[in-house]
Amino acid sequence: MVNTKICLSGLLLDNPVIPASGTFGYGREFAELYDINILGSIAIKGVTLAPRFGNEAPRIAECEKGMLNSVGLQNPGCDAVIREELPELSRVFGKKIIANVCGFSIDEYAECAEKISREEQVGLIEVNISCPNVCGGGMAFGTSPELAAEVTRAVKAVSAKPVYMKLSPNVTDIVSIALACQEAGADGLSLINTLAGMRIDTEKREPVLANVTGGLSGPAIFPVALKMVHDAAEAVDIPVIGIGGISKAKDVLEMIMAGAHAVQIGTANLIDPWACRKIIEELPLAMERSGIGDLEEIRGTV
């Protein structure tokens, strides 16, 4: 029997597999397909203080082994999520969730995180300072160590739950941002968010996405994500959640060898709605095959 259990800032998970924010909604669509209680946790769709429609369509463009999205943080707003989505989710998912919060000002981040962190079912706060699809928010806070630290401090001061900062790969030096967040009191890090990219429709001679640019995700970005997780995990002492193009159990093992405590599965859910279940089923077998008894044995060994 292998041990897939892992711990994130005191939160014990049965396995390291967590659907990534923005690819799993608030769980409802997937709960109709399988018992989502098998998941380690769920990172819910990003929440802002006010409701957001998001960007205009088209919001999706296909790429080689990946896709671009420019959804732009569509969500019904923090109050509606707490009032409607979280109770719905608690009926189908009995474990603690990760609440992903985003903002357009430091105050908004703090207010949103404070509100949602008080909810009993929320185990961790994940602060999205890395969304590439909104103006004046998201990634604007995640590309400077000073601003990233400022958001971290503001959220830490008010959050009732541990705070994980979700980092952008669209930076010169992710280690400096990771260290700035750690020094400002972050309990952990999640990385990476999507890589900024674009596609052009050559017939129309215009961008495919109405927003012009979007965020690249999917297996295409896995090696980039792995390297950034490796660099960040080596530099900090807090737990890192590895995210980016993971689509199979072997990818999970790579991420953990690179230093991740847990992983998030994003785009794979969109192609195969049962992707997380498959990875959870494969993981113990993959561990056995590689002679791994406990994920602890391999964490950060490479």
């Binding site: 923005g22 998001g54 369509a57 999706i60 463009a61 296909e62």
Partner: protein, 247 residues
Amino acid sequence: MKQTVCKVIKNELIAKNTYEMLMAGDTGGITRPGQFMDIAINDFFLRRPFSVCYWDQDQVSVIYRAVGGGTEAMSNMAGGTELSVLCPLGNGYDVEDCCGRHLRDGSSLLVAGGGTGTAPLYGAVKKLSEKGIRPRVLLGFGSKDEVFYEEKFKEITSDVTIVTEDGSRGEKGMVTDFMSGGEYVLACGPELMLKAVWERSSGGQFGFESRMGCGFGACMGCTCRTAHGSKRICKEGPVLFREEIVW
């Protein structure tokens, strides 16, 4: 929604650049015309959404134009090819509502299709005819070589008008030129056509197309604004009622 494997039975050119793919597989979940299926194509990352045209207990067909890499690859698939499919997706046309309305207030029913948007309406007309209702059918195409399914519709209902923009087949003009105005419409086609039909109709249901990420409501890639808030074309759509549509 289920994930199933469908096997291509036939994949034929039925009009200019337009193909019909008939597949064998588990169609048990399809309940309404206008629902769609998301087909995985080798070497393409995202699944491709297609409206169901015809279905019975163990066969289903889709009609598509080869307009990009994915659909071009599809057009080359031979019989026997196995495809991973998510099906059924979306809400589809509410034929009951349509019939109820027709029987209650005598609204004249019109089925209006444009291009490959004609495909899901074939299922809708079949469902209506099973209820003894034979609506007027208006099908618009660019020119005669794009016309398909004329005979198939005529097997079900006699009142079928083909309209081509260049007049090379049937009537010349646009579908809206041949509406009497004020009809309850089941429509599907390009967005400009849907808008024109919407303007001349009194009620109805309109099938929309969108670029999708997942096709089952997870990614929020196909969200649109409606009079009743944001809706996902793939989940709360692709068919929207006239009164909820915001242009």
